[in-house]
Symmetry: C2
Subunit: 212 residues, 2 copies
């Protein structure tokens, strides 16, 4: 069983730090390779090389290619979910449903940029993974989706979002718009703050010339 002490044991912190650092390097290398090559073409040898290791050494940290990839994706959703929740919960009680949704949009984009390669890695490769991994990630993905669902439904109820469109379409549109930002070409040129403003405008008001 290839399980390093994630933590909680009485081992010297020094050793844990090194192990954890390597582990992180591997995860980030894996994310990069996934984005560049896709799940199919990503070989463990590539990941190992990018992390400065030999192929066999990966098995000290992970049981399999699948479990490694799973961890890359899981980390991404978890981070994003947490980040967005915190941002929304920090709002004053007086915030409207629309304001909460807008804050969530900003939080999502902050997390996306912060995650680097892990964001596109998730968007691109989820559907290509073996069923077992998809199933194992499904709960957290669902929980996140439900969170958005509540935000959006509340904004519809408050009258801040149009009610004349199928709610499922509405949600799909908002969420896929946000997810796709990670795939945009020169996205790095924009700061998270700029991107948040722009996306809030696009999603809420559309590309049409604003009526005045």
């Amino acid at each position: 069983m290839a399980q390093p002490n994630t933590n909680g044991s009485a081992r010297p912190t020094r050793a844990l730090a090194k192990s954890a650092a390597t582990r992180r390097r591997v995860i980030e290398a894996a994310a990069r390779m996934l984005v560049e090559q896709g799940y199919a073409a990503t070989r463990l040898a590539d990941i190992a090389a990018a992390a400065g290791l030999q192929t066999g050494s990966l098995y000290y940290y992970f049981d399999s290619k699948e479990s490694l990839v799973e961890e890359v994706l899981r980390y991404g959703v978890q981070f994003t979910h947490t980040h967005v929740r915190v941002i929304v919960e920090q709002l004053p009680d007086s915030a409207t449903a629309g304001e909460r949704l807008a804050a969530a949009v900003g939080g999502f984009l902050e997390a996306t940029l912060e995650l680097g390669n892990m964001s596109p890695a998730h968007v691109r490769t989820f559907h290509q993974l073996p069923t077992e991994i998809q199933d194992s990630l499904r709960p957290i993905r669902r929980a996140f989706a439900r969170f958005w669902e509540e935000l959006i439904d509340a904004a519809v109820a408050s009258g801040e979002i149009r009610a004349d469109i199928d709610p499922l379409v509405l949600r799909s549109f908002i969420i896929s718009s946000l997810e796709q930002v990670a795939e945009w070409p020169g996205r790095a040129r924009h700061s998270a703050r700029d991107l948040s403003d722009v996306m809030r405008t696009l999603i809420f008001d559309g590309v049409g010339r604003s009526r005045d």
Copy 2:
């Protein structure tokens, strides 16, 4: 060389029709497998089985897995590109740039629904293909992208689309919004016409409650 007579020879039409039919079955099976399993997990054996053939028989039609997959994706872009162009060109000369863009949106969605599994197959797997295939598809993808670029820029110039947003962001937003529709869950419930109306509304006016 596994090249069936695409056509143009003096062979009896009967035989050609059968070969073409099988070829089509293979392509559609491949599209379905790509969507369901992803490029990684899609085995030629799966495709063959779904098309009612044995693995080896595929090589009568295609030189390799890669060339088969390439053809699936190429057909999709080509079809969509042509369809959208025709729709836009049929508009009266009096049509504004905004109206042309709106028509293109409708045409894109019609093509998307018409293509069935080929649409999501393209969206999902393009980035995972071997470089050679990506390169070979790049020209037609670029041409299509440029077409959109012109439509959008013209609508900005005519004042029908907001000019206060980075054009690259604007284009990315519109195009990725459209592409993602193929990935939506219960999209089958909506007709192409409904979807076109809804997407035009969302893209041009946003999700915010329309101001009156």
